[in-house]
């Protein structure tokens, strides 16, 4: 069955924005042959009770890159655990960036329609906002930037999208 949807909007609607600061971005790189071991190690780190606010991963050749966004408060225990996991697999330690923030937003049928990513990433790129990590899946868009440009990024997206909460 195929359903055809038509969207007529001056600005793309969103249900609203969520802005979170005080976060850290942890970047892991490992061989995909170590995925099982790294996965097992991540399970054991659940004890650190550090919620992963965003996970974005990509396989480039035989190397997996995995970005984990966490609250800075829970970073130390997580970082120690990750260091141990990667070291046991002969991999380099994870890179960590603190003082980052995240903007998330959702909207109707975002996963089924073109133009959402273009509107968001294009607007930020045009205004020189550097994105550290981004993930779009289902109806949600997640954008991670340095805290110093978080408010500006939010304002740009607020001007680009029509928020139902405003």
């Amino acid at each position: 069955m195929e359903t055809i949807a038509v969207y007529w909007e001056e600005r793309i609607k969103t249900y609203g924005f969520s802005v979170v600061r005080g976060l850290s971005l942890v970047r892991l790189q490992f061989s995909d042959e170590h995925s099982g071991r790294v996965g097992r190690g991540l399970c054991n780190l659940e004890e650190s009770r550090t919620p992963v606010l965003l996970a974005v991963g990509h396989l480039d050749g035989d190397r997996m890159g995995l970005d984990l966004l966490v609250e800075t408060g829970g970073l130390d225990q997580l970082a120690d655990g990750l260091r141990e996991i990667l070291s046991s697999a002969g991999e380099v330690p994870a890179g960590i960036s603190s003082q980052v923030g995240m903007i998330t937003f959702q909207g109707p049928h975002y996963g089924d329609r073109y133009g959402i990513a273009d509107a968001a990433f294009g607007a930020l790129a045009d205004r020189g906002i550097s994105i550290m990590t981004a993930g779009c899946s289902g109806s949600s868009v997640y954008i991670v930037v340095h805290e110093s440009c978080l408010e500006e990024a939010h304002e740009i997206l607020n001007q680009t999208f029509a928020s139902q909460s405003s």
Binding site: M1, E46, A125, G138
Partner: protein, 179 residues
């Protein structure tokens, strides 16, 4: 591994056949991300999943689009001399989404462990409010579910396969009012 079977999955959603467009090793991954997004939006190609990491140098931008767009996607990329040398395509792929994610490191780790142990490559992943989504070979989606079954409790009847497809019409408001 049987000790990990205390995570209950409430839902598994599978996508239709897609292809993954990967932009790697590009000097400015954010520019590539904006460029690819604009290219596909102008040509009305939906991206079901987008990921990007921009660490300053290197990094990646990747997206998944319907597999029937392969010809158009290839043509569009071929026309961009700056971009095409950094682009590779994996096809066909499928999205496997696990519900609920709830920001769980254990769910992420368990899934990676299951796929890793079963030798199922994960070409990409992205978390969202409810689901955690993995990009795997489309013909291995069932094998991927089988691998997950080794570490998760998967009740019967929770696997959602694509039945209804929503596409965005190119019809403009003026064209519709004129009909």
């Amino acid at each position: 591994m049987s000790g990990l079977k205390n995570i209950k999955i409430d839902g598994i959603k599978l996508s239709e056949e897609l292809l993954q467009v990967n932009v790697t090793g590009v000097p400015d991954p954010q520019k590539a991300l904006a460029g690819i997004s604009r290219m596909f939006a102008e040509n009305r190609i939906n991206m079901a999943l987008v990921t990007a990491a921009c660490p300053g140098s290197g990094g990646h931008a990747a997206c998944c689009v319907p597999v029937e767009e392969h010809g158009r996607v290839t043509d569009l990329i071929e026309r961009d001399a700056d971009l095409k040398k950094y682009v590779s395509i994996v096809s066909p792929v499928g999205l496997l989404s696990l519900f609920p994610h709830r920001s769980s490191l254990k769910l992420l780790g368990s899934a990676l462990q299951a796929f890793g142990n079963a030798g199922i490559p994960v070409y990409g992943l992205a978390s969202s409010l409810a689901p955690l989504t993995f990009v795997v070979d489309h013909h291995r989606l069932d094998a991927a579910i089988g691998a997950l079954g080794e570490v998760f409790e998967i009740p019967p009847g929770i696997i959602m396969r694509p039945v209804i497809r929503v596409v965005q019409s190119s019809l403009t408001k003026g064209e519709d009012e004129a009909r």
